[in-house]
């Protein structure tokens, strides 16, 4: 299996602080990879490097075997990478359907020419975009919210809308930044089955601190600690890795799993 996205020896220094130190990781197609680690371990920095927000001091990224140079956030969609934002980032004045349609613009062939001059001709394209967005909302069970404004909806529904907006671009890689934050345990179970449901269409990179979610949905887990990658492997391997147990997971996994089985 060739890697879709490869992170090779990435080091990020902010002044004297080393946020990431020679981290390497790979995401194969159809794989769900989780990045975990205690606060300050470098999860967000790694995420930002992949998104192009942060330029690595050393090391490189490659996408389908090609090294990404001058990588920037606005290039993500054209590469086939979609992401969700921690703060949702829905457009407050646009309806839910419009919000999702903006996410699908990568597939809109209509550009200034047809959009501006030949309004009727872009109609078919327009309808396709709308249908596709509606289907995506429907798939996430929030189609009935299509005409509403985001602020009128509960947080869990807003999160689904944000997810629908990322999914509708039909990316090859979906980047999820703490998708479980603020969700109830029931919503988190839905999220887990959702992530498992999309893996036949795309790869997923998940940065998350809810251990039970990560353990449940990921094929492989990358454990960061103080900017270093201390373990990589399947959930079971990571769970039993003495270094991980020692450095970070030990009590916390136990605590979390008891909490979940208790709930």
């Amino acid at each position: 299996m060739s890697a879709l996205l490869e992170v090779q020896g990435v080091t990020v220094r902010f002044g004297g602080l080393t946020a990431l130190s020679e981290v390497s990781a790979a995401i194969g197609s159809g794989e769900v990879v989780g990045v975990i680690g205690p606060n300050g371990a470098g999860k967000t920095t790694l995420f930002n490097v992949i998104c192009g927000f942060t330029r690595p001091t050393e090391g490189r990224l490659s996408w389908r075997g090609n090294v990404l140079r001058r990588h920037q956030p606005r290039h993500l969609t054209s590469l086939g990478i979609a992401r969700t934002l921690q703060g949702l980032g829905l457009f407050p004045h646009l309806s839910v359907l419009d919000n999702v349609m903006v996410g699908a613009t990568r597939h809109s062939r209509a550009w200034v020419g047809s959009g501006l001059l030949a309004l009727p001709r872009s109609d078919g394209d327009e309808r396709q975009l709308r249908d596709r967005s509606l289907r995506q909302l429907d798939e996430l069970g929030v189609a009935d919210a299509a005409g509403r404004l985001p602020a009128q909806l509960p947080y869990g529904v807003q999160k689904r809308v944000a997810l629908a907006r990322a999914l509708v671009a039909e990316p090859q890689l979906l980047l999820l930044d703490e998708p479980a934050s603020g969700l109830s345990s029931e919503e988190m179970r839905d999220l887990a089955s959702l992530i498992r449901g999309v893996r036949d269409r795309m790869s997923v990179l998940l940065v998350e601190h809810h251990m039970d979610l990560v353990m449940e949905v990921c094929d492989r887990i990358v454990v960061l600690d103080f900017g270093r990658c201390i373990a990589t492997g399947t959930p079971d391997e990571v769970r039993d890795d003495p270094q991980v147990l020692e450095a970070y997971l030990g009590e916390q996994v136990d605590a979390d799993t008891t909490e979940v089985s208790g709930a």
């Binding site: 956030p73 606005r74 993500l76 969609t77 054209s78 992401r83 934002l85 980032g89 457009f91 407050p92 004045h93 646009l94 419009d98 349609m101 903006v102 996410g103 613009t105 990568r106 809109s108 209509a110 550009w111 200034v112 959009g115 501006l116 309004l119 872009s122 394209d125 327009e126 975009l129 907006r165 671009a169």
Partner: protein
């Protein structure tokens, strides 16, 4: 009563021109949160181009109009790309100063090319002899019908563009949250350029429509500055953020100014605009059609 009807009709015709200018200002405000004070200069310049073609070289009215609108597109795009983009992320005052600078530059440039002193006339597209109702003549001519229709068509086309096409959706998304839009693959920079281009083209149309309403309208400084003041007033009455508000604000302003001109005095026209503005802002500080009070300026 007949006088009242005539003044109303005249006000509608003028109001549509103000509405077009207001709409151009609102489009730029929504896209970049900048009040484009150069709008008056831009539309003055494009009107002079059309005047040069139509009046001096006797080129067809519609060809001259098309050239002016095309020139508007170019001037708008170039202004955004070269002048506004560099100051976009600075304090709002920087952008204001840049647009004022562009206004003065365009006025000076037009003065160098076409001369500063003269007031020129622009032949309207259609007859300005009013329709007759019985034995009396209405203050509403075929040219007024043309003005109202032309602006209405543009308004409808812009509405369809913004509400019904994905390009318009992207423009709205880019205006509301450029950062998020950029992450979703929307090419925000291009859309801003496009927004300025469309606004300047709309201004070009308004300038030519206005030029035909009055003899000696075409001057480098003067009437077009007043047109900017009226357009700005109309935009603020409408809430500055609302395209529909801009159109209604323009109509309202046109009609009230028409009454005031005739019933009170026609010597202090610009002052009425400010009186209306103050009155509206006292009652509705955010304009008649503003969505919310939250605004970053």
């Amino acid at each position: 009563m007949f006088r009242f009807l005539n003044l109303t009709l005249n006000g509608v015709s003028l109001g549509m021109i103000y509405a077009a200018v207001a709409l151009a200002l609102v489009m730029i405000w929504r896209a970049t949160r900048i009040v484009n004070f150069a709008q008056g200069g831009m539309l003055m310049f494009t009107t002079f181009i059309a005047w040069d073609l139509a009046q001096r070289h006797h080129i067809n009215y519609w060809v001259a109009l098309a050239v002016a609108v095309g020139a508007g597109l170019v001037i708008g795009a170039v202004a955004e790309r070269l002048l506004v983009r560099p100051v976009e992320n600075g304090p709002p005052l920087n952008a204001v100063i840049v647009t004022l600078g562009l206004l003065i530059f365009l006025q000076a440039l037009a003065g160098m090319i076409w001369g500063n002193a003269q007031a020129h006339s622009y032949s309207p597209a259609y007859s300005i002899v009013g329709y007759s109702a019985g034995d009396r003549t209405l203050l509403f001519s075929p040219n007024d019908v043309y003005i109202v229709t032309a602006v209405l068509i543009v308004v409808v086309v812009l509405y369809l563009l913004f509400q019904r096409t994905s390009l318009g959706l992207q423009m709205r998304a880019a205006a509301f949250s450029p950062e998020v839009a950029r992450l979703l693959g929307v090419r925000v920079g291009r859309l801003l350029t496009l927004g300025w281009a469309i606004a300047a083209a709309l201004g070009a149309l308004a300038g030519i429509l206005a030029a035909g309403t009055q003899t000696g309208y075409v001057q480098t400084v003067g009437p077009f500055d007043a047109l900017l003041v009226y357009g700005f007033t109309a935009a603020v009455i409408g809430g500055l953020d609302s395209p529909i508000g801009a159109v209604i604000g323009g109509l309202l302003l046109g009609i009230v100014l028409s009454y005031a001109d005739s019933y009170v005095s026609n010597n202090i026209q610009t002052m009425y605009a400010f009186l209306i503005l103050i009155a509206v802002l006292m009652v509705r500080p955010n304009g008649l059609f503003s969505r919310s009070a939250a605004r970053r300026v």
